[in-house]
Structures are given as C-alpha cells and as structure tokens.
C-alpha cells in the first residue's frame, strides 16, 4: 500500500474519499521517491517538502471533519519554474532570476490552491522556456527517465520527467511552440496545450506573449481533463483570456470517436519522419478506424514556413519581454559596474545563457527599423495564412492527427551545437501555437530502444472537449499510458 505514486489523480481522489489513505501518506511517498530518484533524473529545481506536508495535513483534517473536498485536494503536483508562486523562488532556470521570489501567485496557482492541491516543487526547464531539450537550463541537466542518456524534451522537460518518473502525480507546463507536447511525447506522458486564451497567462513569466499557453502534463487523458477543468476560465488580470461558457471536460470523455472525421496532413508525413514513428502512426490510424473514426487526407500548405515564422514572432516578443531583466529591481545584478549602462550590460551578459542571448539578438534584429516589414510584418502575414490553413482543414475534418515528434528523444548533447537542428524538434508542434488552436500529445507506442513515441491531435479553437475525447478513446484501446520507466 505504500506505492501511492502508482495512482492517477482520479484514483487517489477516490482512495482519499474512501479514507483508505491519508493525504500526508501520499505526499510522504512522493517526497521519498523524489529523494531516491531525482538525483539521477534532475527534474526539480526547488522541492517544497515542508509546505507540501503542511498542506497535505490540512486536507486530512478536512476529510476527518467531513468537509467536502475537491478532486485535487491532497494531490501532489509539480509546477514548471516559470509560473509565479508567492513566497517560492521562481527562476525560469535562469541565473538572472536565481533569487527571485514573487510577491504574488499566478492565476493558475491560485486556482490550484483553491482546490487544496499539494505543491511538491518547481521543475526544470530550458532557460525562459527557450529550447526543446531542457539542456538550456542555467542550473542543471534533466535526464529522460526512460533512458538517462537522452533528453526529456523541452522546454517543460522537468514537468514531463516528473510525471513519467512518478515523482509527481501530474504537473503544469507551458507551451510556446511545443514545450508541453514535445517533452510529453519524449517522456511517454500526456501533454495538452489549450486554445490560446483558455488558460490565464497572468503570473506565467512571458517568453512569447502571443504564443505562450499553460497546460497540464499528466499520466492519462482523464487527469488532463480534470486539471483543465480547474485551470481554464476567464481572468480579469489577463486581457487575452477569453470570457466564455466552458464545458466540463471530463463529461464527454467516454463518448467515443465513432463518426469522427480525422484529417492526416500530408505535410506531416514526409520521408524524414522516423520509420518507427511512422509505424506507430499507422497502427494508431488502424486502432481509431476500428473504433469508428474516418480518416481523410488533408493539406496544410504553409506548414513548411511554420518554424521560420515562429522564430521571428517568438524572438521579437521575447526581445521585449526579457528587457525588464536589467539588475535594477530584482534578480541577479552584476557586482561589476560604475553606471547604469554598465550594470545593465554586465547583468545581462552574465545572467543570460547563450540560447536566450541568441533569441534576444534575433528578436531585436527582426524588429529593427528597416527590417521590420521584411521580417516581423511578413511573419505576421504568414501566421494568418497558417491560421487559414487550419480553418480550411477544419471545414473538412473534425480534428487532425500527426506525430508529435519526428523521432524519439535524442541523446543529451546531440543537438546542443546546432541550434537550427534543435529548432526543428518543434516542427510538428509549432503550428498549433501560431494558429492559437488546442493540441494534445499522447503516448502512441515505443521505439525499439524502449523510448516513447507520441501522437498529436489538433482541433479548432476551443475544441478541447473533442480532442480529449479522441485521445481518451485511443488511450482506452491501448496500454501505452500504463507503462512507465522502472
């Protein structure tokens, strides 16, 4: 009975309600597991053991007192270290924020708090969420729990790794170009990027404001729906959050895929998709067809411009979003200066890592006078074309299925010297961010070396219920999600 880490959110909730276990026991079991494993995996930047046990005890008291508890009460979660939690260090895995303790909670954190969740700690990421391997962290490397010599993906590599390694029941990540889905695929877990505007960004340290979106990373689809129910919804503090009646995302999970029309974009099934990934996609198609789904071939003609468009828009926004780290108000300040200009220069020189600097320079360049029209403005136009591609596609099909990643997790260090290669890791995930549409990655099989492979469902804006339904149907027909690294 001590292996509480084997259970999902919903399972733990029912055990708590039946008083078969105590919240404190769950948290203790996770803390022990973190102690045992995280030295090898390296996914936590901060572990909040004391607060976690305190919070779990509060939940136990509520249960003893017969108070009604939420489905998330006493459930130990991890949060990517780019979301602000009052009083707890939020570093974005950057030296420049190594000592930053926010005086306020992100809206998603407030929402989790209202449900009495238990925070285990903050997880590692590529510095400021810029990367696809978590190797750009300013503090440490995170290893893929399935193969410690491989990357966990990124930028939410820490969050995906803790869920895969059962170092947390579930986690929150953020996704700007695939940063939830790509690591979820690499680590064999479920990762959902919601529609832009469905989840408040208030308190999420901005990388690219028009693309960033917070979402759940979980061990199964139901848990993703449970977390989405809690974190979604309008927020007065985020002007881009949408005010809209939302469904209960768990309600229609079992409705099945019968009659669902699924599009396969030819641009996503090119030769350079790994053969093993292609096999998984084929088998996924058959499974879904057996369940009654219908497949059609579609085209998203502007797909090939996605990566270029993304790296112009994202870096442009990032160059402004990261301008605030000047050593004046918080975070790292270089000890070496005589005036403001020097202080700011040295602070940024010493505080930011190479990839962040590269993107700031790129973003500064594309916004410069004389280049703005050729780069930023053109990229915005292509972004509309990509959006149109999807609008067009969704008039022919209900959702789209693609691989999440073209190949399983790569080796640590394999792509660090070739940023362009690294950028291509997000080739299948970037378009959803540019179009603002929801997408989910779920486990879809394993490569010969035992590394997980992910498939992605994309839907029209606010069709989370539909892609969750399809993902759930697939999950129920397979057992990939039940496997985990030993």
């Amino acid at each position: 009975m001590s292996k509480f880490y084997e259970y999902s959110i919903c399972e733990l909730n029912s055990l708590l309600l039946k008083k078969e276990i105590k919240a404190v026991e769950i948290t203790e079991s996770y803390l022990k597991r973190i102690e045992k494993l995280d030295g090898k995996i390296g996914s936590y930047l901060t572990i909040t053991a004391e607060e976690a046990l305190k919070q779990a005890a509060i939940v136990d008291k509520k249960i003893v007192n017969g108070e009604k508890i939420s489905v998330l009460a006493g459930i130990p979660l991890a949060i990517k270290d780019n979301m602000c939690i009052k009083g707890i260090k939020t570093t974005c895995a950057s030296k420049i924020l190594h000592n930053f303790i926010p005086p306020y909670d992100a809206t998603v954190v407030k929402k989790l708090d209202n449900e009495d969740y238990v925070l285990l700690g903050k997880t590692n990421l590529d510095e400021f969420a810029m990367g696809a391997s978590t190797e750009n962290s300013g503090f440490k490397i995170t290893h893929n729990p399935w193969d410690l010599s491989c990357v966990p993906g990124g930028s939410s590599g820490g969050s995906a790794a803790v869920v895969a390694a059962r170092e947390a029941v579930a986690a929150l990540g953020s996704d700007t170009g695939g940063s939830i889905r790509q690591p979820a695929a690499c680590c064999g877990v479920v990762g959902l990027k919601p529609t832009y505007g469905l989840v408040s960004r208030f308190g999420l340290v901005a990388f690219a404001s028009s693309l960033d979106q917070i979402g759940p990373i979980t061990r199964d689809v139901r848990d993703a729906a449970v977390l989405l129910n809690i974190i979604s919804g309008h927020d007065e503090c985020d002007s881009t959050s949408i005010n809209k009646e939302l469904p209960d995302y768990t309600a229609g999970l079992g409705d099945g895929v019968k009659g669902l029309k699924i599009g396969l974009p030819k641009e996503y099934f090119s030769d350079w998709v790994d053969a093993e990934v292609a096999v998984c996609m084929d088998s996924a198609r058959k499974i879904l067809e057996n369940l009654g789904a219908e497949f059609i071939d579609i085209s998203l003609p502007h797909t090939e411009y996605g990566v270029a468009t993304y790296y112009i828009i994202a870096t442009a926004e990032a160059s402004a979003n990261l301008a605030r780290y000047d050593g004046v108000k918080y975070g790292y300040r270089s000890p070496d200066y005589n005036n403001f200009l020097q202080m700011q220069k040295n602070t940024r020189e010493e505080g930011f890592g190479a990839e962040v600097k590269r993107r700031i320079m790129l973003g500064t360049y594309v916004l410069s006078s004389g280049y703005y029209d050729a780069y930023y403005l053109k990229a915005q136009k292509v972004r509309s074309l990509i959006k149109n591609d999807f609008d067009q596609a969704f008039s022919d099909c209900d959702l789209i299925m693609t691989p999440t990643i073209a190949e399983p997790a790569f080796k640590l260090g394999e792509k660090t010297s070739d940023p362009l290669k690294m950028y291509l890791s997000d080739i299948f995930t970037i378009s959803a961010n540019l179009a603002g549409i929801p997408a989910i990655s779920i486990p879809a099989g394993f490569a010969k070396e035992g590394l997980p492979i992910g498939l992605q469902f994309l839907g029209g804006a606010f069709s989370e219920d539909m892609i969750l339904k399809a993902a759930y149907a697939f999950e129920q027909a397979t057992d990939y999600h039940l496997k985990w690294p030993k």
């Binding site: 306020y104 690219a208 002007s239 926004e317 402004a320 006078s369």
Partner: protein, 475 residues
C-alpha cells in the same frame, strides 16, 4: 534679413483617472516612494497589463474638443528602450493607430483667428522618477503607469507668444473637461517644442531643434524666444543649425545642447501582444460627447450676451470652470451681473491671488457675496463698509449679516441721529461753516468727511449730504 520661426509642440498631459492605466494602483501618492505600486506597474515577471477604460474615455473627450477624428480601432504598441525608470524595458504606447488624428485649435482674437493643426493625440503610460544622490541613484515607481496623453501639433505656430497661447487654450480645454491638473511646475502638463527658423517667404523648413524642460508658461515663452533668437544669430553669423535636443536652463535663461539626434533610438515598435485592440463604437463616442462641458470660448460668448458684461470681464471669468461656475451662481442670486463681476474680478480674485489659493477653497460662498450686495443695495451698509465686511467674510467665513451685527457696521439711516451729529460737527468747525455761507460751497465735502469720520463711515452718505446742505442753508 527677415526670419520666420516655425514651431510645433508636443504636449504630455497626465490624466486624472483614479487608478493607473494598466493596473489598480492609485494615481494619487503624496506618500513615500514606491508605495503606489504592484506587480503590474513594477513590471514583475509574469504580470500583465489590463487597460483602464477611463483612460480611453478621457482621451476621446479631449480628442473631440480638439476636433480630431476618433480611431474606431485602437492598438497599443511596445516602445522599446532601456532606462532605469522604465521597469519593463518598454513603454506601452500608441504608435501606428493613435486615438485621435487631424484636429485643430483656434487661437487669436475673434476677428483675427489662426487655426493650429493637431497632428495626433495618443495614449501611453508614464515612467518612474530617478533620484540622484551622492551614493548612487534611486528609482521611485509611483509615477510609473500614470496615464499620459500625448498631443502633437502641426508646425503651424509662428511666434513664441502664439505657442504660449496654444498651450493655454489646450490647458483650458483639459481643465474644463477635468481630465488633467495641468500643473506645469509639478509636471502633470509637460511641453516640448520643435523649433526652426527660415527666411521670410521660404517654403522649406529649416533644421529644427527640440527644446525640453520648460516648466511653466512663462518659461516656455522665454525659452522659445531665446531659441528663435539663438538660431537666427547662428545663421546670421554664417553658422548652421544642428538637429539636436536642447534643455532650457531656467537659471541662466538659455537653452543648452543635450544630445544630438544622430544618436537617436530605434524604438522597435511592435503591437503589444498582452492587450487586445480597443474598439470604439460610434455610440460610445456620442455618449462621451454628451459629457463634454461648455468650453471656454463658447462660455465667454454666452456670458457677454446673457449677462451683458464686457468681453474682457467674460474672458477673465471663464479662465477656469470653477470661477465661471462661481460667477454664474452669483449671477443667479443677484440680478446686476456687472456688479457681481466687479466684485469677483476686483476683491475676490485679489484675495485669492494673494493667498495663492483656489476659488474652490474660498470661504465666501456665492450666497454670502450676493447677500452682501443685497445689503448694499438696500442701504444697510455702504459700499465702503462693504469692503470691510468682505474682508471679514473672507477671513472668517461668517455671513455678512452676522459680521454687520457683531461689529455694529449697520448704516445710520435715522435723520434725527444724523442731524444731531451734523450739528455737533458744524459747532466744531465754525470757520468752514462760515466759508460755505460766503459761497465757497465746495467745502461741504470736508464737512461730510468729518461726519463720516465721526460715524466711522456708517452714516448713509446720501442722507448726510442732503441733511448737511439743509442745515448749512438754515441760518
């Protein structure tokens, strides 16, 4: 050689909303530095701006008064530059699509008006304040996020005096609408000028300089006059004008070069992704239009025709909305508007100016002032005594009736009482009485004066004159 100056102005007005433009922090902060701040206006990681709709409303109101076209779609942009008082490393401002475009203000007298074009009116956030000390620099972010309205004029102004008049006109509009305090000394209204000179008759503009740091209306005119002279002297002596920013040095009375425009910033504007476009409906504009008060020019004309007061009086009385309201309140209570105007422009404004206060804080209410005028009219007090009563009212805030009662200032109207005083004075001044009777009738003035002095000014002067003449003729 004759030169023609060409001046365009850029005015920044802090809007008087209760809260800042993108957060709920208060805009009034006499308190300590950095108290009126929050994660949003401090630009903390993860914080997001949410637009205060009131700012758009104030902007629309002003833009309508400046005859601008109102943009139906408003987009904010990020203006990127590094400065320690700019917490996000960018200022949220309007760039490509400003709220107001293509308006004008008329200056000059009625029969000699000049139309000064308004290029644009846009909204943005203010930055913080730096405090430099021997041991380093400090930043106060209280001012960060105060809504600012930037108004840019066309280069239509030709003299420093016109420029000043333009700003005064603009200030009156802002004050009348209650959207800005317009305190140049405290920086709630800031004015920068672009100035060039060209040979009279020339079509092309000369090279311009930008003059900043003009902290009052008086200095503004002086600074512009200086800069115009400086440019003409430079050209006359064979030099050339360098495009640069110059600061007005108030102590020395000169403009000093600050930085040359060659080092100008590339602000890398791009649309602010954290804010959604603000759509301005025709209905919204019309609703706001209804809340625009009567503006100074219209009010002035109405005062002349409705109250039959001279144009000069009307102009003085409409310099502020509070003063105009005060006058109108009085005029409702007392029918002779010219007398009301005389008292306000004379006694009242003098006292207020001496005390450096505001009509709003004046202890004399319109009711008190007009009650006093009524008492003069009824003959209860003389005009001379009234000045005493007025001063007393101003100091104490007591009603005129109470002051007259308490101090015994009531006019003596009883003929018998006056007659007995006259007899006393006549007895004491036999020489003057004799001279009068010998035909030097002008001497009656002296005797009246003596009677008034004896009664401390309280005797009714007409009655004194009449009775004294009777008594002198009697023997």
């Amino acid at each position: 050689m004759q030169y023609e100056p060409v001046i365009g102005l850029e005015i920044h007005a802090q809007l008087k909303t209760n809260t800042k433009i993108f957060c709920n922090c208060s805009t009034s902060f006499d308190q300590q530095p950095n108290l009126s701040t929050c994660p949003v206006c401090l630009g903390l990681p993860g914080a997001l701006p949410v637009l205060n709709k009131k700012v758009i409303e104030y902007g629309i109101k002003t833009a309508l008064c400046l005859n601008c076209k109102i943009a139906d779609k408003n987009i904010f942009a990020r203006k990127n530059y590094f400065y320690p008082d700019l917490p996000k490393g960018y200022q949220i401002s309007q760039f490509e699509l400003p709220l107001g475009l293509g308006g004008f203000i008329n200056i000059g007298e009625k029969d000699n008006q000049k139309r000064i074009g308004i290029t644009r009116l846009h909204l943005e956030e203010d930055a913080g304040k730096l405090l430099h000390r021997a041991d380093g620099s400090l930043v106060d972010f209280n001012r960060t996020g105060i809504p600012l309205m930037e108004i840019v004029s066309e280069p239509d102004l030709r003299t420093a005096k016109d420029a000043k008049e333009f700003v005064v006109k603009l200030r009156d509009i802002l004050l009348y609408n209650g959207v800005c305090d317009c305190n140049m000394e405290q920086g709630s209204l800031r004015c920068d000028a672009n100035i060039s000179v060209r040979k009279a008759g020339a079509k092309e503009f000369g090279v311009k300089t930008e003059v900043k740091n003009m902290n009052s209306f008086r200095f503004m005119q002086k600074a512009l006059e200086y800069e115009i002279e400086r440019q003409i002297d430079e050209l006359e002596s064979g030099g050339r004008i360098i495009q640069e920013t110059r600061l007005w040095d108030e102590a020395k009375g000169v403009t000093v070069s600050m930085r040359s425009k060659e080092e100008a910033h590339d602000y890398r504007y791009f649309p602010e992704p954290d804010l959604v476009p603000v759509m301005v409906s025709v209905q919204w504009v019309e609703d706001i239009r209804k809340t625009i008060p009567e503006l100074p020019d219209e009010k002035k004309e109405r005062f002349v025709s409705q109250y039959n007061i001279p144009e000069y009086d009307a102009k003085v009385l409409t310099t502020s909305r509070d003063l105009a309201d005060y006058f109108e309140d009085c005029a409702k209570l007392y029918s002779d508007a010219k007398i009301v105007s005389n008292w306000i422009m004379g006694e009242l404004l003098r006292e207020i100016k001496n005390d450096n206060t505001d009509i709003k804080d004046c202890s004399i209410t319109p009711k008190m002032l007009t009650d006093m005028l009524g008492l003069i009219k009824k003959g209860v007090i003389s005009g001379k005594i009234a000045k005493q009563v007025f001063e007393d009212m101003y100091k104490t805030g007591d009603a005129p009736q109470d002051i007259i009662e308490k101090k015994g200032l009531k006019q003596i109207m009883d003929p018998n009482a006056i007659r007995s005083i006259i007899k006393e004075i006549m007895a004491g001044n036999p020489k003057q009485v004799r001279l009068y009777r010998q035909g030097k009738t002008k001497i009656i003035g002296y005797l009246v004066g003596q009677v008034m002095k004896h009664t401390k000014g309280k005797a009714n002067p007409q009655l004194v004159n009449k009775l004294l003449a009777e008594e002198l003729k009697r023997d």
